[in-house]
Amino acid sequence: MSESKIVKLHGMLANKEISCTELTQTYIDAIQKDNAALNAYVTVTPETALSAARTVDEKIAKGETIGLLEGIPMTLKDNISTDGIKTTCCSKILEDYVPIYDATVWNILKKQNAVLLGKTNMDEFAMGSSCETSCFGGAKNPHNTDHVAGGSSGGVASAVGGNIAVYGLGSDTGGSIRQPASFCGIVGLKPTYGAVSRYGLIAYASSFDQIGPITTSVEDAAAVFDAVSEYDEKDSTSQGRKEAPVTDTLKNDIKGMKIGIAKEYLDGVRDEVKEAIQKATDIYQSLGAEIVYFDLPALKYALPVYYILACAEASSNLGRYDGIRYGYKADNYFDVNDMIKKTRSNGFGDEVKKRILLGTYVLSSGYYDAYYKKAQNLRGTIVNAFKNAFTGCDVILAPTVPMTAFENGHAVSDPIETYLTDICTVPVNIAGLPGVSVPCGFDKKGLPIGMQLIGNTFGEAKILNAAWQYENAANMFKAADFGVKL
C-alpha cells in the first residue's frame, strides 16, 4: 500500500534519524538530477528551502516538538503567489513577475515551516490539459517521459510523482489537480469551492478555481487539506473547513457506505479505464460498501457550460495584463493602446488568447443571453442534479479521465479532442463539489489510470475516507523511477 510519506518523514525528523537540512539537500540534489527529464520545476528555490530547514533543525535541536508539515520539502504551482519569488503562471506575460505578497495558503504553510523547493510548471494561466501550453514547455510523466504529466498542474504532479517533492499544492478549475494526478499515478484533491482560500491564486476562472493538494497517498492529501482549509477574511467566497479534521475519520470503516455510479460518466470512456473502475467497485463491495446506480443526464451540459463560463471569467480576469504595472511589456509601440495590444499579442500564448476571445464573445451584448446566461442557468441545473444524486448515495465513483496520459504533442495538435477529455472532471467544478483522484490501475503501456470519488459540498471527510479504504485494499500505487527513494 501507499504509506504516508509525510508521516514517515515527520517521524524521521522528530527522531533525529535525518536532519531537515540533509533531507532538503537530498531533494535539491534530486531536482538537479531529474528536473531536466521531467521539466517539473520552473523556479528552484534552494536558499528559501535550506533557510526553512535550518529553522526546523534549530527547533529540533532545542527539543521543541514540530508540526506534521514542518520541515517537509514541498512545491507550489506557479500560479500561487509567493512574496519575493517569481510567480509566472508559465506565461511570457508574467515571466519576470515577482509578487510582493504571499497567497494565504503559502502564508499558512510558511508559518508551519514548510520547505519550499520551488515553483512548478503548469499550462499557461492553468489553461490546458497537458501542461504543454506552458511557455517553458510541458512537464513530463514520471512513468514514461514520452507522455505528458497532464494539466494544468502538470509540474506539481510530475514533481510529486517523480519524487522530487513530497507534496505540492495545485489549482483545479476544470480538473487541473485531478487529471495530472491521475496521469501520474498519484492522489489529487480538489476541495469544495470555498474550503481553501483563493487569495493569492492568480485567477483563471474565479467561480471554479480551487487550490488543493497533490500527494502520493490519501493520508498525505488529508493532512495537507486539514492544514490549508482555513477561513480567510481576505477571500469573500472562503468558508474554511466546516467539519472536524478529515484525518480524524480517514481510516473509518465504510460498511454500508453508498457509492453511486452514473452511467453518463462512463460514456466514451476507454475500456481499460472502465475495467479499472469495475474492479474498484468489486473492491468496494468486498469492503462492505453498497453500489447504487443512477442517471445524471445533466452531465451532457457540463462541457459547454464549463467552457463558456470559465472563458467568460478568464476574459475579464486576464484583462489586467497590459504591460503598464508589471510583467512583460512590448518593446516598440507608438501609443498606449498600441503598447497594450502588442504586449498582449506577444505576451499571451495561443490557448490563452483563444479562451480570452471565446470569453469576450460570450459576454458581448447580443450574445450574452444565448451563451453566458444560458450557461449560468444550466449551471444551476447541474448543481441541482448533484444535490439530488446525493440523496441516494454518499459518494460518487467515476473515472478521472476517460483515458491515460497523452503522448507529448498530442493535446496541442487536437485541441477539441483534448477539451472533451475534461468531461469527467469539470462537473465537480461547475457544482463546487469536492473530488479526489486516486490511482486505480495501469494500462497496457504501463501508464497509470485514476478514479475519482466525488462528494457533496464540504464532504471531503467522506470521499477521503472512501479513498483511503480503497487505496489500502487495492494497493495500486507504484513509485516512478525518479527522484528520492525513501
Binding site: L201, D235, G319
Partner: protein, 472 residues
C-alpha cells in the same frame, strides 16, 4: 418655435468612508502618487476584493435621504473596459441590481426629479500628463463612489442648479460625502436633449461628461441647449454622442465617436458574495439619519417664525444648524440668535469651507448664555451686540466680559435722571431738535446709552427725551 430643455444627471459622489471600498487603504485626498495603495487596489494578480460594510451603509443612507427603496438583495458586477487608470481592466460596479431605486429630489417649485437608481462602485486612478509622459496615480483607485442616476426630469438650468445643490446639501448633511466638486468628490455627467415646448417625445440626447463645478454645468447646458436648437432650426440632426465641456472656450466637443461605443460585458463579479441588507438594518440606518435641511427649513419657518432667507442660511450647513439649535435652547426669541449668527458671526466665516467647518471662537453655549441675558432683561440689545463682538474677539464667555453692574439692569430713577441730564447738558442738540433737526435726538439718546453703559432701552430713552423737550 419655442424649445424646452430635457436633462437628466448621472452624479458620482465619493463616499467619506475612512478606507477604500475593497481594501483597507486610506481614502484621503492627495498624498504622494501611489502611496495610498496596496496589492488589492492596484489589482495585483491573485488579489481579491473584500466589500467594506461602511460603503453599503453610507449608500443606504444616501438612498433613504433621497426617498429611495432599498434592495434587500443586491450584487456587484464587473464593468469591463481597458484604460490605464483601471488596474484590473474592469470596474467593480452594480449593473442590474442596484442597492437603491425609485427615489426623488423635490425642487422648490414643487417638481420632483425622479432618481432611477443609486449604486455603489469603485473609483479609478488618475492619469497625470507631464513633459510628454503619461503617469498613473492609483491613490484614487478603489475609493468608494455612489452613482446617482436621475430620470430626464430637469427642464431648465435653474432646476439643474438646484438639483445639484440639493444633492450636495443632502449628502453633506447625512455625512456620507463632503461633495467637494473642485476636488472631484462630486462629479456630474449631464444627458441633455431639446424638444418643442408641448412635445411629449424625447429628442436625441448628448452626454456632457465629468463636470466639476455648478457654474460649468450651467454654462455647458446653456451652450449645448443653444447648439442643439440651432442644429434643429437649420434642419440638421443632433447626433447622439459623448461631449467634453471646455470651460476656457465655453464650448462642448465630441469625446469619442459612435464606432467606439463601449460594450462593457457586464457580469456578476464571482469574487464577491450577495449583498444582503435586511429590513431591520434599513430601519436601524434610518434611525440614525439627521433631520434633513428642507425639513429643518420648514420647521424654522413654521415653528420658530424665521423669515425664509434666514431659515435657508442657517440650514445650508449642518454644523451651523446644529450650532443655532444649541444656541436657542431654552431661549424666548429664536430670531435674536438668527440675527447674531447671520449678522455678526458670519463675518468671521467667509468662504464655504469655513462655513462647512464652522470653527468659531464663540461656543453655542456662550451664545445661549448671552441670549438668556437679553431674555431676562439683564442686558439690552446694544450691549449684547458689543459683547458678542468681544466674545468673537477673545473667545470669552459673556459672564467673563460683563460685570455685575453691567447685568444689574437700570432702575427707573437712574434712567429718568440720565434723560434729564442729557437734555440739560446738551443745549445745542436740544435747540437743533426744536428747530426741526430730527437727527439731533440721536446724540441725546447716545448720551443716555453711553452713561448707562448701554443698559438703557434706546427707544424708551428717545421717547422720554422727546417728552422732556416738549415740556421745556
Amino acid at each position: 418655435m419655442k424649445y424646452e430643455m430635457v436633462a437628466g444627471f448621472e452624479t458620482h459622489v465619493e463616499l467619506a468612508t475612512n478606507t477604500k471600498i475593497f481594501c483597507s487603504c486610506t481614502t484621503q485626498f492627495g498624498g504622494d502618487p501611489n502611496t495610498h495603495c496596496c496589492p488589492v487596489c492596484i489589482g495585483l494578480p491573485g488579489t481579491l476584493p473584500k466589500l467594506n460594510k461602511k460603503v453599503v451603509e453610507y449608500a443606504v443612507k444616501a438612498g433613504l435621504a433621497t426617498n429611495c427603496e432599498i434592495a434587500e438583495i443586491s450584487k456587484m458586477d464587473r464593468k469591463n473596459y481597458c484604460y490605464p487608470d483601471l488596474p484590473k481592466a474592469y470596474q467593480i460596479s452594480q449593473f442590474d441590481m442596484p442597492l437603491c431605486e425609485h427615489g426623488y429630489i423635490e425642487l422648490s417649485n414643487g417638481r420632483k426629479i425622479r432618481l432611477t437608481r443609486i449604486h455603489i462602485e469603485e473609483d479609478a486612478g488618475k492619469l497625470v500628463h507631464s513633459r510628454g509622459n503619461t503617469l498613473v496615480d492609483y491613490n484614487r483607485g478603489g475609493v468608494p463612489l455612489i452613482e446617482i442616476v436621475s430620470e430626464p426630469d430637469i427642464r431648465s438650468i435653474d432646476e439643474a442648479r438646484e438639483y445639484v445643490e440639493k444633492l450636495q446639501l443632502i449628502m453633506r448633511y447625512i455625512g456620507v460625502s463632503d461633495c467637494k466638486m473642485q476636488e472631484g468628490s462630486m462629479r456630474c455627467d449631464v444627458n441633455i436633449s431639446v424638444r418643442p415646448v408641448g412635445s411629449e417625445t424625447l429628442g436625441t440626447r448628448t452626454e456632457i461628461k465629468n463636470m466639476n463645478s455648478i457654474n460649468f454645468i450651467a454654462k455647458a447646458m446653456e451652450y449645448e441647449f443653444n447648439r442643439q436648437v440651432d442644429l434643429i432650426e437649420s434642419g440638421e440632426k443632433v447626433v447622439q454622442e459623448t461631449l467634453r465641456y471646455d470651460d476656457v472656450t465655453n464650448t462642448t466637443s465630441s469625446m469619442r465617436g459612435k464606432e467606439d461605443a463601449n460594450d462593457y460585458r457586464y457580469f456578476r463579479d464571482p469574487d464577491l458574495v450577495t449583498i444582503n441588507v435586511p429590513r431591520k438594518k434599513v430601519e436601524e440606518i434610518k434611525a440614525t439619519l439627521p433631520e434633513l435641511p428642507f425639513a429643518k427649513q420648514k420647521r424654522y419657518i413654521e415653528e420658530l417664525g424665521l423669515p425664509e432667507a434666514d431659515a435657508q442660511l442657517l440650514t445650508k450647513y449642518k454644523k451651523i444648524a446644529e450650532y443655532y439649535e444649541e444656541a436657542i435652547k431654552g431661549t424666548k426669541n429664536p430670531k435674536t440668535a438668527a440675527n447674531f449668527i447671520i449678522g455678526q458671526i458670519f463675518r468671521h466665516v467667509e468662504n464655504e469651507a469655513e462655513k462647512e467647518a464652522f470653527n468659531i471662537n464663540v461656543s453655542a453655549e456662550s451664545l445661549n448664555e448671552l441670549i438668556k441675558l437679553i431674555d431676562s432683561g439683564k442686558i439690552r440689545m446694544n450691549l449684547a451686540k458689543s459683547t458678542l463682538d468681544k466674545m468673537l474677539e477673545t473667545g470669552k464667555k459673556p459672564s467673563e466680559l460683563l460685570s455685575d453692574s453691567d447685568m444689574a439692569g437700570l432702575d427707573e430713577n437712574t434712567f429718568n435722571e440720565l434723560c434729564q441730564q442729557a437734555v440739560e447738558n446738551n443745549p445745542n442738540a436740544v435747540s437743533d431738535y426744536k428747530n426741526g433737526k430730527e437727527k439731533a435726538i440721536k446724540s441725546l439718546v447716545g448720551y443716555v446709552m453711553k452713561n448707562s453703559r448701554g443698559k438703557a432701552d434706546a427707544l424708551a430713552a428717545e421717547n422720554k427725551i422727546k417728552e422732556l423737550i416738549q415740556s421745556l
